[in-house]
């Protein structure tokens, strides 16, 4: 196949912003050498071996389990929400979607900072509690606060793809199922849910990937000591300056994300078209 010249800018773009950085990360992960430079590189697997230390494996484990939890919670919250919105009249539907998207117009950092003032020791919630005579609660700098931040920030990414699949399901399919004797519950389990799986797969992908690699939410709501794999990478690059180890962690994280996506795609029974990355 001959490539048209109109595709050259895009190819150039992809080389500069995708191929080169990925190659560099791979190169750094497989080598040791001077800080920040690419001279005198020596190939080695030491960076990966170093990650096998239990304290790093622990970080990976916590990151994955937190990401899985937040994905599960956004799915449980998001699916009914998407169903409710999709069931409304078109005018009301658009308004609800707009309300859902408006917070996303604000900066991600700002939105997360906002939770600080809500959950903090002297934050809004504790202020109300103490005014009512209760003891203040420890709401921030723990797993739950990070989880909350993830669910809050990533919920729209679960709701929107599921909504867009649900809203496209032909109403006559639902009527056909009812016509054939299916009550509301059976209509859902046999028709609506199976048809919405591509949306669920996309939603899971869109929530799990940023959740597993986030470092902002864990830094702000988990506190300075809180360590997820994203923070580990950030730390290696920005504070420790070990680009080689940082790159190796990034590669490991990428492999994990790819594996997870491959597993979720297996559940996608619809082969044609496909909703996820595979």
């Amino acid at each position: 196949m001959k490539m048209k010249w109109t595709s050259y800018p895009y190819i150039l773009w992809m080389i500069i912003f995708i191929v080169v950085p990925l190659t560099l990360i791979l190169l750094f992960s497989l080598t040791v050498g001077e800080e920040g430079g690419i001279g005198n590189l020596q190939f080695t697997l030491d960076n990966f071996k170093r990650f096998l230390d239990p304290k790093y494996i622990d970080v990976l484990w916590i990151s994955i389990s937190l990401a899985l939890k937040s994905t599960a919670i956004t799915l449980l919250l998001g699916y009914p929400m998407a169903m409710i919105i999709a069931g409304e009249k078109p005018s009301k539907r658009n308004l609800m979607i707009l309300l859902f998207v408006i917070p996303m117009w604000m900066n991600f950092l700002l939105r997360t900072y906002a939770w600080l003032t809500l959950l903090g020791k002297n934050g809004f919630i504790n202020y109300i509690l103490t005014k009512l005579g209760f003891a203040p609660l420890n709401l921030i700098y723990n797993d739950r606060a990070v989880l909350l931040g993830m669910v809050y920030n990533f919920l729209p990414f679960m709701v929107l793809p599921i909504y867009s699949v649900l809203v496209k399901i032909d109403n006559s399919l639902i009527e056909a199922a009812e016509d054939l004797g299916a009550n509301k519950l059976k209509v859902f389990s046999r028709v609506v849910f199976p048809l919405s799986i591509p949306g669920i797969i996309t939603g899971i992908t869109m929530v799990f990937m940023p959740a597993v690699s986030t470092f902002v939410i864990s830094r702000l709501l988990g506190g300075g000591q809180y360590m997820l794999i994203g923070n580990l990478v950030e730390q290696q690059f920005l504070w420790v300056g070990d680009w080689h180890f940082g790159s190796a962690i990034s590669i490991i994280m990428m492999i994990f994300i790819l594996i997870t996506m491959a597993i979720t795609a297996k559940f996608d029974t619809e082969k044609e078209g496909g909703g996820g990355l595979w």
């Binding site: 032909d170 006559s172 399919l173 009527e175 056909a176 199922a177 009812e178 016509d179 054939l180 004797g181 299916a182 009550n183 059976k186 046999r190 028709v191 199976p194 048809l195 029974t269 619809e270 044609e272």
Partner: protein, 349 residues
């Protein structure tokens, strides 16, 4: 009487946003008949069907199914199945699972389901298609799967909502005959919705002509065609010449400035009426031998016949004839009394 009725509609009215789409519909649908709801789009025929299926609730009136009121019964508890306009086959299931859907819901044993689905596939001429996907079927085949999916549940009544609309002409004609044969074989009531008058005439035992949410006429295809009750029915079913006339007496009608013998009676003396003459009932004669004379103004070849417009005094007549008279020819026209149909004038028209 009650026993021979499959479904009775009593005083059914339905509104959408304040617009009345069904206005006090009363209809008896006999067991095992092929009944067609015929009318232009927006006449309320699909709404009537959806009310029978349970997908819409009427604001007024009752639906009686074999003597029992089912107005409030949800669709999944009605012994009625539907073939939808766009087939509405489940895209995530193969042919077998689509047809087996209703039986699985009823928790029928697996072996029995297999047997029934196989039997159905034979009935609709799709043997061996069990594992094919919906997307791999042509429109006609999807249609037949939709029919099999409905019929496998052994409904007492099958509703069909313009099921042949998306098919090409040849396939549509074949499916019309196939559907009619199928209805005779399974021996259940078919309620069929269409806007295609030819389709209605071909398949139905009874045709219900609807317009503006009101039933205009109920009758056999022959009745509807030969004895239309009003101008709407006459114009909707086939082509017709509709002219103003005056009943002079029983069996005597005046139109086009002359008095003709006819076969209708029971009108007031000098009552104004509508006279319907089908284009194929006007015979061409030589000038002087006809009841009317006129000049041919246009000729269109229609395949089996020619369609000619003939100007006679101030009136224009449409004639269907296998004999062609060129434009400008002066001809005579004749019609036998049996083919002059007299209809009461509808006041608001």
């Amino acid at each position: 009487m009650e026993k021979t009725n499959a479904i009775q509609l009593k005083n059914i009215s339905k509104e959408y946003d304040g617009v009345k789409v069904l206005d006090h519909i009363n209809l008896n649908i006999r067991k095992n008949e092929f009944l067609t709801l015929l009318g232009p789009s927006g006449c309320g025929k699909t709404t009537t069907l959806r009310i029978i299926g349970g997908f819409e609730q009427p604001e007024e009136g009752n639906i009686i199914f074999e003597g029992k009121d089912i107005t409030e019964v949800p669709p999944y508890n009605r012994q009625i199945n539907t073939v939808f306009q766009k087939y509405a086959l489940f895209p995530h299931m193969n042919i077998f699972d689509n047809i087996a859907f209703g039986l699985k819901i009823k928790k029928m044993p697996k072996d029995e389901i297999k047997l029934k689905v196989k039997e159905m596939l034979r009935l609709v001429n799709l043997q061996g298609f069990e594992n094919r996907s919906i997307a791999s079927l042509s429109g006609g085949q999807q249609q037949r799967v939709a029919i099999a999916r409905a019929l496998v549940n052994e409904p007492k009544v099958l509703l069909l909502d313009e099921p042949l609309g998306a098919l090409d002409l040849k396939l549509r004609k074949d499916m019309q005959i196939e559907l009619k044969n199928m209805q005779k074989r399974v021996g259940i009531t078919f309620i069929y919705v269409t806007h295609d008058q030819e389709e209605a005439l071909t398949m139905s035992d009874t045709i219900v002509v609807m317009d503006g949410g009101v039933i205009q006429q109920v009758g056999t295809p022959v009745d509807i065609y030969n004895e239309p009750k009003n101008v709407f029915v006459a114009e909707f079913i086939g082509e017709s010449n509709i002219i103003d006339g005056i009943m002079h007496d029983d069996y005597l009608v005046e139109f086009a400035g002359k008095v003709f013998d006819c076969v209708d009676k029971g009108f007031e003396r000098m009552e104004k009426v509508d006279v319907v003459i089908r284009p194929e009932d006007l015979e061409i004669t030589s000038v002087g031998n006809g009841m009317l004379t006129g000049v041919v103004t246009s000729v269109i070849f229609k395949g089996v016949h020619y369609e000619m417009m003939v100007k006679s005094n101030d009136m224009e007549w449409m004639i269907h004839s296998t004999i062609m008279k060129p434009v400008g020819t002066k001809i005579g026209m004749k019609v036998i009394p049996d083919n002059i149909h007299i209809m009461k004038k509808v006041m608001d028209q």
